[in-house]
Point group: D2
Chain length 130, copies 4
């Protein structure tokens, strides 16, 4: 997934401020689901949401306004009520950050954890789709 | 109202990026209502929201991370279904921006314009409260 | 210019919070210059920046997460040290907002106003380029 | 440190979007240094910056607009060129998130890692100050 770095995301050191990486991850997550045939808006409309319970990011470089960057997304773990995605952010000079996020499947009505719907499971494993 | 300028709000020129002024205005609007005795969360819970239909900002200076800044809020116009607030942003060296926002009172259920509730009218004119 | 609406930009009413429109305008401004052959990063590197001194937005609708939206940009006025851009934001159901921003050409070294460089003038009027 | 939750930070589920926690951590980091007698702006002016190389957050709850929240900051580890801070975010019903961030001390001139200046070391350990 290509990332569009906004001017406003660079801080006064000239590099993208850390929190925007979580915005990129969220965008990449939606794009990942979309590529697997699942629309995030539809999923929420059907009463199911993926709630973030853990995130971590390691930086080995930085991004600047005007850089072309991409985010790679991989399914790192798939459980019965949760899943983990691994992200790799690449800038012009290579990998600048890697991250992992753990999501738990919950009802949008506040009813708590739910088993993962089949369509979400399929969207996360597009290679297995028939 | 004092403004807390976040490090991330300064762009790579070292000054607060323009869009954050609208965040400050929104904060100041809530604080203005609170000082008038109205809690914004309560107002929305009662089915009424103030929808922004116009905003404008004029900059004559800039703010930097670490600056102490304040936002003045005044009621500029009070109509039957709308009202206008005027904002003045002051930094260490004086006024850096002025702005105006026009809000229309609407139902949170999407039913459109509504007459202004008495408690909102009172909160906007705290001087007239008994 | 297509706009990618991020999940985080929708507020708890489900619509894009007002300040993000200024982020869209800034993105659209950069894209407009790029289409005119000018790279914003290059321009700043050459010691010239376009400083926002006025912005205004009128909303007639709203955007939701998942909406496909576009921003139209037009040169509304071209002066000797400043210029005005007009923006039109369109969502699935038509125009949701219009805006205008006034920029003054300044030195990045804090030396104040400057006459508009030829390449910026050309980029703003791509139709006149040879 | 008290946190002011902005209306715009709540997403369409009504809870604060994950990336804003990193904004809170950054605010809390500055406040923590300030309490230890070090001004972050001064530190950068003296040619030293603290660069984030790792962050992680665990969520066990959520924050809503209007909630009163606080962030606790503790020094978790102090090395020769890096340090780790531990954050605890509390909302009205108790802890909603914990996090850790690892910073490396670098020159603002891009010269890379530096030994930790005495004043930064003192600011991180205010209890040991004389």
């Amino acid at each position: 997934m290509p990332v569009q770095i906004r001017y406003l995301e660079a801080d006064q050191q000239g590099v993208v401020f850390n929190m925007w990486y979580l915005a990129y991850f969220d965008d990449a997550f939606s794009a990942f689901l979309a590529r697997g045939g699942l629309d995030y808006v539809d999923m929420m409309a059907s009463g199911v949401d993926a709630q973030l319970v853990h995130t971590e990011v390691d930086w080995t470089g930085s991004l600047r306004y005007g850089d072309e960057a991409t985010i790679g997304v991989e399914l790192a773990r798939l459980g019965t009520t949760s899943f983990t995605l691994a992200f790799t952010v690449r800038g012009p000079a290579g990998v600048v950050a890697t991250g992992e996020t753990v999501y738990v499947v919950v009802g949008t009505d506040g009813s708590g954890k739910r088993p993962m719907p089949e369509r979400l499971r399929n969207a996360l494993q597009p290679g297995d789709m028939k």
